[in-house]
Amino acid sequence: MIMNCESAQRMVYEAVDRALSPDERRMLDAHLAGCERCRAEAAVLDALIETVETAPAAKPTEAFLANVMAQLPAPPPSSWFAPALVFPRLVFVFTLAAAALVWLYRASLSEIVGNFPPVQTVSGPVTTAIRDIQAYLQAQAGAVLNHLPIPASTSVEWGSMLLVATTLAVGYLLIRAAENPDVGRTSFRIGRRY
């Protein structure tokens, strides 16, 4: 099969990638042997590719590295909860333990709350007004508690459950914070400098 110049010149480019099959290569070589124009084209392309590939690599200035490092985000300032972010799982275990202790000793907690000494009061118009407000708030709180499905006397039990739930929530948030790449990574950067 005779190859025309257009096909040959396309094959010259494909030959650069060694993308020709042996048959195609033979056909191209046969065409180039008899076509001065395509032979010249192939020579130009070879020289061109060789020139590009042997180009010496340009080097950036000596300040390049320092400039890059100066532009990197600065480590964030340390914060009081940074250790908690560095050891989030340890903190979570402690919060679980604290929650368990609160739950186990809720009866004692109830005693402690119940054994607070009575508040010393003095008479006078201001203290009377404060006592009225306190009485009003207690009445309102009692009304709310009466709507709950359990007797108001177990409010300490509810408080314990709330405390347990809060500690669990804090632990969960710490874990999430540690899993967040930005928060997690910045916590490790504390105290480090390039």
Binding site: Q9, R37, V44, E50, F64
Partner: protein, 195 residues
């Protein structure tokens, strides 16, 4: 001990700046050469290359290790360089990953007559420098593929990954890029032949 890119990346992710500095040292020349070929001048290219590493540092957590770190860097470099070129000297219509339409770049596909034997000109050092500069004068996407394939010795797979293009498209663009470069060469040798 010379740590691998992956080990340095893992350390850099934990805030180890010297580890990241080592990565910059290791890849600065190749990234700079890529940005230089696309952007076209040293000053803008160096600024773009710096931006590449800063962006890479900020995005280290998004590097999953599916590809080589260098390929991932080249992807950032191409995007940053194209933006830089768009801002500076290039025409907006040709500064994209889109391929110029046939002849739209002013480089006709028809061959000029090479009877003057331009291949001989490649022997001259000055002309070879001129050729290298012409790579940067190509439409940016052509500069990018020529630089990555012929100068950085990336495979088709790696270029396709860096440019987020199918391999077939990369091959086609490389073909056109070489053709466009060759036409620039002819134009510089025999300006009258294309008029």
């Amino acid at each position: 001990m010379d740590l691998s890119d992956e080990e340095l990346v893992a350390r850099a992710r934990e805030g180890d700046r010297p580890a990241f500095a080592r990565l910059v040292e290791r890849h600065s020349v190749s990234v700079f050469n890529l940005t230089l070929r696309i952007v076209g001048n040293r000053e803008d290219a160096e600024e773009a290359a710096q931006d590449v590493f800063v962006r890479a540092y900020r995005s280290l957590d998004r590097f999953r290790g599916d590809s080589r770190f260098s390929t991932w860097l080249y992807r950032i470099a191409v995007n940053v360089s194209l933006s830089s070129a768009r801002r500076s000297r290039r025409d907006l219509s040709t500064t994209s990953l889109s391929e110029p339409e046939d002849d739209e770049d002013g480089l006709p596909m028809q061959l000029p007559d090479p009877s003057a034997d331009p291949a001989e000109r490649f022997e001259q050092a000055e002309f070879r420098d001129q050729v290298r500069n012409m790579v940067a004068a190509l439409p940016p996407i052509y500069s990018a593929v020529i630089s990555m394939y012929h100068m950085q010795s990336l495979s088709y797979d790696e270029i396709a990954e860096a440019l987020e293009l199918p391999i077939g498209t990369v091959k086609a663009r490389l073909f056109r890029a070489r053709a466009a470069l060759r036409k620039l060469i002819y134009r510089s040798i025999e300006p009258d032949t294309l008029s």
